[in-house]
């Protein structure tokens, strides 16, 4: 049975455990073997403490033996983006300024997965402080796309996406501030979910842009994302921006019931996207294919246009960098993390520590954010960006009165080559379909929808739903997943 584990889903692993066909220790050691084999090419993990994980697996197994398993998922490993505080583990956000730093508490999300018995399984690489769309901004290593090692896995949760795609782990927890879960999921051919703002607690997740950040699962299929969403979501008294989502059924049971068709479902699409500059042919074709697929499944297709899409990226980068400039101010070498030795006074300590230990993209965004908040510029930039944000939110509210979910490509291109995109602005365009989702605070999911003909690279479909409309996007994604042409997205490794 052993070699079967690598590409199993969470629910399949849970079944195996329940039927006593395997143990947590066996599952973990299976993944260790897989990691040993493929990790030298992928570089998805910054850190993996096999000893500690094995200990946790043994504990889980003895719990299960005694009939005291914490849930049916007890003992299943989940890898963690290097941005979550997991007590006792390093949490570096792939930055030199947080090396060394050991978390002194558990993020709420981590607490919740531990309560169900999931085992935090190593630290996944990312763009430094989640700033980037390729994982190239990590100060540790460059992660490769399992589908083509010369290409990026996307970002910022690129390590998470690559690890899941390469079969190094069944699922991972990432974060999505402007597409950081969905875009790498699309590049790597896996499912990536960005929950509605406030659905999942941000407590203990190192903040990039507080009004945009959300934790989200990356998984092999829609059902697993639903399982993880059930696990991590909910009101948290430590994060007062979380909201209560009153519901009768778990997301998992909604997905399990969504196995027929989309009769009566109204799906919004935007044909104008097909005329967009920089949208590659394969993406266009796949978008049209996906729309047709949905229509065949019984959905009513409604064409919708968004007047504000072109302003979204500007508004996004103003708001995100403004918040980041304050959020990242705490990394100064005073209380934790790394501090340079050669300083004469306080000012030099700040300048040299931050100057040397933060990466270029992070510094660029701090500068930008500091600028847009400066007195005299606040109204012209930050305030206007907030107005655009309101318009975008309003237009989505209207949209979702006309349709249940909305479809777009997840990315304008498939995964690009490492080093290929050098201009920051060009890189920012990689998130053109994902940024505005965070601005509006709504939910979205990437579902693999095809492979490019020339390069055999995954292409993703983004399904968006209203705020707290996770049930709808999960249902649409699940029905699409069951009926798409390519059943499984497994790279040749």
């Amino acid at each position: 049975m052993s070699s079967n584990i690598t590409y199993k889903s969470l629910t399949q692993l849970a079944d195996l455990l329940e039927n006593k066909e395997t143990t947590s220790e066996e599952i973990c050691s299976e993944y260790f073997d897989r990691i040993e084999k493929v990790e030298p090419q992928i570089n998805a993990f910054i850190k993996l403490d096999t000893e500690d994980i094995t200990k946790k697996a043994e504990e889980s197994d003895s719990r299960r033996k005694a009939g005291r398993q914490l849930s049916r998922y007890d003992g299943i490993p989940i890898s963690i983006k290097d941005i979550y505080n997991v007590k006792g583990q390093s949490c570096n956000c792939a930055s030199k300024i947080l090396a060394p730093y050991t978390a002194i508490y558990d993020a709420t999300v981590i607490k919740k997965i531990k309560e169900k018995g999931f085992i935090p399984f190593g630290r996944n690489n990312m763009d430094e402080f989640a700033m980037g769309s390729s994982c190239e901004n990590s100060s540790y290593q460059t992660t490769s796309n399992p589908w083509d090692l010369r290409r990026v896995p996307g970002g910022s949760s690129g390590g998470s996406a690559a690890a899941v795609s390469a079969g190094e782990v069944p699922a991972s927890l990432g974060t999505d501030t402007g597409g950081s879960v969905r875009q790498p999921a699309a590049f790597c051919g896996i499912v990536g979910l960005k929950p509605s703002y406030g659905k999942v607690s941000r407590y203990g997740i190192v903040a990039f842009a507080s009004s945009l950040d959300q934790a989200g699962p990356l998984s092999r299929n829609v059902l697993d994302s639903a399982v993880l969403l059930d696990t991590i979501s909910g009101l948290d008294k430590m994060d007062t921006t979380t909201v209560r989502d009153k519901r009768d059924d778990s997301h998992e049971s909604i997905v399990r019931k969504s196995n027929e068709n989309l009769d009566g479902f109204k799906i919004g699409v935007c044909h104008k996207y097909l005329e967009m500059d920089g949208l590659s042919e394969s993406i266009k074709e796949n978008y049209m294919y996906s729309i047709e697929q949905m229509r065949e499944l019984g959905a009513e297709i409604i064409d919708i246009s968004f007047p504000y899409t072109k302003y979204a990226i500007a508004a996004y980068y103003i708001i995100a960098t403004a918040e980041a400039s304050a959020n990242l101010a705490r990394f100064d070498g005073i209380r934790y993390g790394s501090r340079i030795k050669d300083y004469k006074d306080l000012n030099e300590l700040y300048l040299k520590t931050r100057g040397r230990k933060l990466g270029d993209e992070v510094k660029r965004r701090i500068l930008l954010g500091t600028f847009v908040l400066s007195s005299g510029y606040y109204d012209a930039y930050y305030l206007r960006a907030q107005k655009v944000r309101t318009l975008i939110s309003d237009s989505f509210r209207e949209t979702f009165q006309k349709c249940d979910v909305f479809l777009s490509p997840t990315t304008p291109t498939p995964a690009f080559k490492i080093g290929e995109v050098s201009s920051p602005v060009e890189m920012y365009m990689a998130d053109v379909f994902t940024n505005f989702v965070n601005l509006a605070g709504i939910c979205g999911i990437n579902i693999p929808s095809g492979l490019t003909k020339d390069d055999n690279l995954p292409v993703g479909l983004q399904i968006l739903g209203p705020h707290l409309g996770e049930d709808k996007i999960l249902k649409a994604a699940k029905v699409f997943e069951d009926n798409r042409e390519i059943k499984e997205f497994i790279p040749d490794l």
């Binding site: 978390a103 002194i104 007062t240 101010a329 930050y382």
Partner: protein
């Protein structure tokens, strides 16, 4: 003087709460450095603020007590600046939408010079809520930061530039402190940093409309220092203006030892705080009903309390003033008054004896062992002539030392007043017998020698003899 003085004050007051503003660490003073900290108040990665409802309530009550209008919609903002005492390198504060706006305080009383000021309304521009900073300690070779104080809820109370002298500034601070203590908002202990004050001061030729150049004064750690700094600055600025020197906008510190202000920074180096709405916190919304409920919670102000004490307890205006100067003292008195039929006598004892014991001991009234109930019990004993006033003094200092009930002390020490005529008669006879010449003087018309005999009787009875009976008997025996 040929100049008008224009002063506005910015007062910071730490709110008295169980826990800090945005985390559950205790709000306490005087612990070992960095023992009252957590990821939130230390600005650890990923930590998030959770607002303290109690602190928000107190901020609103403070505003209502200062006559402010309460905003139905307010929010928190981030104020950015780099300094180790600010764990996140931004402070959560309130910028354009604070909880309280446009109030005023009726200021009366004396200035530091002792001069009674004319009753005056001082406008309050705004009151907002923020988190306190940590404390930096500088040593020879390094500096240390103690984050125990970081995140304590802090009110900033900004006055209009309505203050025209050092005495008025002093009186404003005294009145404000009284309000904050009365509202149970803060203990306002300046030595513990619970109340701090910055001064904005400028001079302009008498009668002119436009304000002069504003100088900000910092680092005064007592009301007296504020008074002195303002006096010094008025002289300094007047002198400069007399000589035709143009003042520049700047921040000056107060050196208490040297009794002078010094330049800290000029306006050119002013911070750009880059305020923006705190995205980790939701805006705070009050309904009209919420605000009405807050209004019902406003405690009685000192002035109203004084008037009530006079009418309800029949104490003098002076007594009422002393008893209400501190809310804790007023509360103590009221509690005691519930247990005695002679609140007037209780007031006398509190003012002449208890408060003296307290000030000698260096304690505050909440820390002493004499409970108001026990003090009232003693007042009743004096009232019923169980003990004399003189014995009362002994009993009170014993109560102060041990915290025992007066009835216990009196019994243990055998201090019950002697009202038995036959036993007092023995003391009287002895006193007359021992002092024949004084007796002669009395008989020859020097009636005030009687006091001497009363003293002798008290001495012999070790203070226990009832003085009225002793006087009666002495008069009879001396003829």
């Amino acid at each position: 003087m040929k100049y008008d003085v224009v002063i506005g004050l910015e007062v910071h007051v730490q709110i008295k709460t169980e826990s800090k503003m945005f985390c559950s660490c205790p709000n306490r003073y005087g612990e070992e450095p960095n023992t009252l900290t957590c990821p939130v108040c230390m600005g650890y990665p990923g930590a998030m603020p959770v607002p303290n409802r109690k602190a928000i309530e107190k901020a609103v009550i403070a505003g209502l007590m200062c006559g402010c209008s309460i905003s139905e919609y307010s929010k928190f903002d981030r104020k950015s600046y780099f300094y180790p005492d600010m764990a996140k390198n931004y402070q959560i504060s309130q910028y354009d939408l604070p909880f309280c706006l446009e109030g005023n305080i009726k200021v009366e009383g004396k200035g530091f010079s002792g001069k009674k000021i004319q009753i005056k309304n001082i406008g309050i521009t705004r009151i907002h809520l923020e988190e306190d900073a940590a404390k930096s300690n500088h040593y020879a070779a390094c500096s240390g930061v103690d984050y125990n104080k970081a995140g304590i809820p802090l009110l900033e109370i900004v006055s209009e530039p309505d203050i025209a002298s050092a005495d008025e500034a002093y009186a404003y601070l005294t009145n404000l402190k009284e309000i904050m203590q009365y509202g149970n908002i803060s203990s306002c202990d300046m030595e513990k940093g619970q109340m701090r004050c910055d001064v904005n001061i400028s001079l302009k030729p008498k009668g002119r409309k436009e304000f002069g150049t504003k100088i900000e004064l910092k680092n005064m750690n007592s009301f007296r220092a504020v008074h002195r700094a303002v006096e010094y600055e008025i002289d300094r600025q007047a002198e400069a203006l007399d000589e035709g020197v143009t003042l520049r906008q700047e921040t000056r510190g107060w050196n208490d030892e040297r009794g002078e202000t010094y330049l800290m920074r000029s306006k050119e180096s002013a911070h750009d705080y880059r305020y923006f709405p705190e995205p980790d916190l939701m805006p705070v919304v009050f309904t009209k009903n919420d605000i009405d409920n807050f209004k019902a919670d406003i405690p009685e102000l000192p002035k109203a309390k004084r008037e009530r004490f006079i009418s309800q307890f029949n104490v003098t205006e002076y007594d009422a003033k002393v008893l209400t100067a501190e809310k804790a003292v007023a509360d103590y008195f009221e509690k005691g008054a519930e247990h005695t039929k002679s609140p007037k006598l209780l007031a006398n004892w509190m003012i002449t004896d208890l408060l003296k014991e307290i000030s000698d001991s260096g304690l505050n009234i909440n820390e002493i062992r004499v409970t108001p109930e026990n003090l009232a019990e003693m007042i009743e004993m004096i009232n019923k002539k169980t003990i004399s006033g003189k014995i009362g003094k002994t009993v009170l200092s014993e109560m102060f030392k041990t915290g025992n009930k007066p009835s216990v002390i009196v019994k243990e020490k055998g201090l019950i007043q002697d009202t038995d005529e036959s036993s007092i008669e023995k003391y009287v006879d002895k006193a007359i017998e021992d002092n024949p010449s004084q007796a002669e003087q009395y008989r020859s018309g020097k009636k005030n020698v009687l006091q001497y005999f009363v003293g002798q009787v008290m001495k012999q009875s070790r203070g226990k003899a009832n003085p009225q009976i002793a006087i009666k008997l002495l008069k009879e025996k001396l003829g």
